[in-house]
Amino acid sequence: MIPIESESKTKDGTPVIYVAKENLIPFMKEKKDEGFDMLLMVTGVDYVDHLEVVYHLLSTKDGKRLVVKTKTNEEVDSVTSIWPGANWHERETYDLVGVKFKNHPNLKRILLPEGWVGHPLRKNYPMDKKQYVNLGEDGEDKVSYDPKEGY
């Protein structure tokens, strides 16, 4: 048994389990063996003093659901080796929330262009600073704060 930090329930009755980030990978492997074969989504939440990564699991055999959370400051292990579908979800969490996933096969921005400054879903993201995107000479996106430099 992997030690857990605490246990609670969401408003809709799904169990929530907090796991220390060192124990995340063994805990997830254990849960997959228990029958949670589908990873529905990976999410990051910014609580200003720390970040939380949230995993929603589903067992297609008996319909059980489980929410796993882990607290981190920046980095957490990737679960792509357990569920291949985590790939895009982790990239999105990296892109928008700024959580770095260790051992991820291709940790690049997915929704925003490469070179974007900041992570929009952080609470301290400057909403009034616009960024402009243009296509550079080499075919890659260029991001700039100057409106003349892009669209």
């Binding site: 408003k11 929603h56 929410v67 790939n87 895009w88 979800h89 999105e92 929704l111």
Partner: protein, 367 residues
């Protein structure tokens, strides 16, 4: 001599169903590798939802999957109602059920028409649009809009169904099955269609589950998993309907699943028309002036079966009138990720068939 050529498919291409770009590596005409590139329609609906009151975020949900806007609204509304412990009158829930099923038909008709176009058939496109137009007129009559409705509200719906609207729905469900038969036969009597779709774009059940694929794609791969049956919300446990399952996992199976789902939706709408109870269509406690003062605390996620798969909105409240964090679980995002597996080893000509069989809508993929 082997030479791999890299080809860009999209983002501006009539058969990408939006702004999808796929980087395809070709060996001759065999696809060696295909990497989808997304993000061209990104608006960050999640951040926008965190900037206003709870009822305000509803309009961003409409703009996710714009061909099935009511299904998107439902996912958000159910989560918020759970978060705030709001009770909804029975009539409102039956109305919601009827409306999302009609919207599912409209969404599948859009898919069927454009899928026909991708396969080089022009005729079914017009037939599908004709039928969809009738659904949109029903929505126009009941909600006041044709595409983006803003119809569901916390605690009910914004307006009651009108008698004329009910008449239009009755007429639609009585005539639609025959016309669907006609449209289906255009596809099924075509030798070319069968040749181009049978055994193409295969996705094994193992891969489908591993990649979080849900909805018609999962059912076409052989798993009987429909949230309306497995984890019923609204009153889906009080109506009779079947869940179509096929085990080939190819484009043709997905076509069959969606056609059958439309029939089952008609069945559900017919039963709702019989069972629709009298009463309030919204909870008077949560009338409009109250809505702006509603506070949410805790977190909730209510999964619903949208036309594309499992859709739900994970809402976290911090006790104020503004949501702290909103995460949209969109089915097309997860389904599209599996496209590289579906394409590998097939020919470049199968690419449009496979991509259109996923039914991606980019408002929902890019959010």
């Amino acid at each position: 001599m082997e030479k791999v050529v890299e080809v860009n498919f999209g983002p501006q291409h009539p058969s990408t169903h939006g702004v999808l770009r796929i980087k395809v590596k070709l060996d001759g005409e065999i696809i060696v590798d295909a990497q989808p590139v997304i993000g061209y329609l990104h608006r960050n609906a999640e951040k926008l939802s965190e900037m206003g009151l709870y009822p305000k975020a509803l309009i961003y949900m409409d703009r996710l999957d714009y061909v099935a806007a009511l299904n998107m609204e439902l996912g958000y509304i159910l989560s918020v109602e759970k978060l705030m412990d709001v009770e909804t009158p029975e009539r409102a829930q039956w109305i919601r059920m009827m409306m999302v099923e009609l919207n599912r038909i409209a969404s599948h008709l859009v898919w069927l028409g454009t899928h026909g176009l991708d396969m080089g058939m022009l005729t079914p496109f017009f037939y599908c649009w004709r039928e969809r137009e009738r659904v949109l007129r029903i929505f126009d009559e009941i909600t006041g809009s044709r595409l983006l409705y803003n119809y569901f509200a916390i605690g009910g719906v914004y307006s009651d169904v009108t008698p004329k609207g009910l008449e239009m729905i009755k007429e639609f469900v009585n005539t639609f099955p025959d016309r669907l038969e006609e449209i289906q036969s255009i596809f099924q009597k075509s030798y070319i269609y069968a040749k181009r779709t049978k055994g193409v774009g295969k996705l094994s059940l193992e891969d489908a589950i591993g990649y979080g694929v849900t909805g018609p794609l999962l059912r076409a791969s052989g798993l009987k998993w429909d949230l309306r049956k497995n984890q019923p919300y609204l009153f889906y446990d009080k109506v009779n309907f079947e869940v179509p399952v096929y085990s080939n996992g190819d484009v043709y199976s997905r076509f069959l699943v969606r056609i059958e789902e439309m029939r089952q939706s008609v069945r559900i709408v017919k039963q709702v028309l019989e069972k629709l109870p009298d009463g309030e269509f919204y909870n008077k406690k949560y009338a409009k002036p109250m809505l702006v003062r509603m506070k949410g605390n805790g977190e909730s996620y209510v999964p619903t079966e949208s036309p594309k798969g499992e859709f739900g909105v994970y809402v976290i409240g911090d006790g104020s009138t503004i949501p702290y964090r909103v995460r949209i679980r969109s089915p097309s995002f997860a389904n599209l990720q599996a496209v590289s597996i579906m394409l590998k080893g097939y020919k470049i000509a199968d690419l449009t068939a496979t991509v259109s069989s996923i039914d991606p809508v980019f408002g929902e993929v890019d959010r």
